[in-house]
Amino acid sequence: MLSIELNNLTKAYVKKHLLTTRRTTGVESITLSIGKGEIFGLLGLNGAGKTTTIKLILGLLKPTTGYVKVSGFDVPSYEVLKKIGYLPEVPYFYKYLTADEILKFYGGLSEIGNINKKVSEILDFVGLESVRKKRLAEFSKGMLQRVAIAQSLLHSPDILIYDEPVSGLDPLAIQEMRGLITSLKALGKTLFLSSHLISEVEKVCDRVGILAKGKLVRTLEQKQWASNPGGLEKIFVDEVSGSSELGRIKIESNKTNLNNQIPD
């Protein structure tokens, strides 16, 4: 059985203002299947539709056309939400609760048994045991990211959806995240992640999809980019060039004196 199945998925946003209607396409006609135990990376420029795709998988958005299935169940459904662990790009928590309290709260919602023991184990796993009684308002970004990881793993989900998991992390934290992802794969978890960092994606993913202007323009397996002379970065840049709304910064690579190129 496939872990995640997206079939002809389209999401259009319609904004009505007075007598005008503006229609923006988030994602268009995405068809994608992710197998059990696979690590799949979704790459794209800002605004390409990565987060929209993730929200459609989680049921935070309703598709305009098409459908999403997770482990054979239609999204949204209780069964799907029991199987998924989600790590948002920027995790936000109730700042007046402690790490211990917030995990017990989430654990209760996910119907976990023996919750005190489970919370202790997960806090120990992410290295936050010593600060478990500290309020989340006092946590650094790195610590909040660890809490976010903890909550995503607390209920032992089969499928993990990680939105930009290394965004804003320092190199040590990135290395730890890479190690975590590798461990999760070894445990047979399915991981769907979105990222900008091509260098990280090509190290951990089995397969990658490239989004450009809401469309899935290419999917490729590890051996395809491994054998490509420019690696995954070159393939990505070739696929998305011209899809950004912004113009390129005009730096000519053959000129060594940068001062002549930057306007006064």
Binding site: G59, L60, L81, V90, Y106, L109
Partner: protein, 253 residues
Amino acid sequence: MKKIVSIAYYTFIESIRNKVFYVLVFFGVTVVFASLLLAALGGEQPQRILLDVGLNALEFFALVTIGFSAVTLVLEEMESKTIYLIITRPVSRVTYLVGRYLGLLAAVYCGMFIMALMHVALLKLEGWQFVLRYPLAVLLSAEKIAVIGAVALFFSLFSTSAVSSISFTIFFWILGHFSEEISFLGSKVNTTLKIFLKIVYYLVPNLQFFNLRDFWEVPNITGSWMFISFGYGLIYGAFFLALALWVFASKEF
């Protein structure tokens, strides 16, 4: 049910640890104490003035707390995205919203209880004899707070702007205290306006039902009157909560 209790519990904890909550309770207690000054000017009835001002202050500050908190409850969660990590768990939106609403009410009632204790202590110092009507008056105020909380929650989900939601809630509160006047006006006007005023009259709860302090001197407040008042508040509270749930169910994030 277990999840509703869990959400309510952690909402309560989150609310009472919020500094804004302490500030509001502090101001409420301050006004209750300040009513001593007014009581001193009260001539022959200092106790009555202390009683009225104290009960009004208690209700007013509870109203301000529930109004602002209910409006920001979901709006702030949607903007800050704390809601994502809840609704991506096996929790229905009904469970989430009801749990958050009950937790918020519990926190406001905690503040009301503290203010009421202070108020009773002051009344006792003035030689007041405790009567059963006092806790009943506070209970009815608490029920009014619950109704306004549900209304504020509905407006916040409907309008998606904190300013307009608070404005609508305040306007609704004012309208609720002029329910009998709206009914009287409806009896004096033509057909179209009469229908409109009738709709407003039935849609907006008569908040005067919850003002037991206005009937303090009435000798026999019966159990059935209290029961009807509670039932009335329960129906309106449930109605606006259901409307809020209906709007929330179709929201995308």
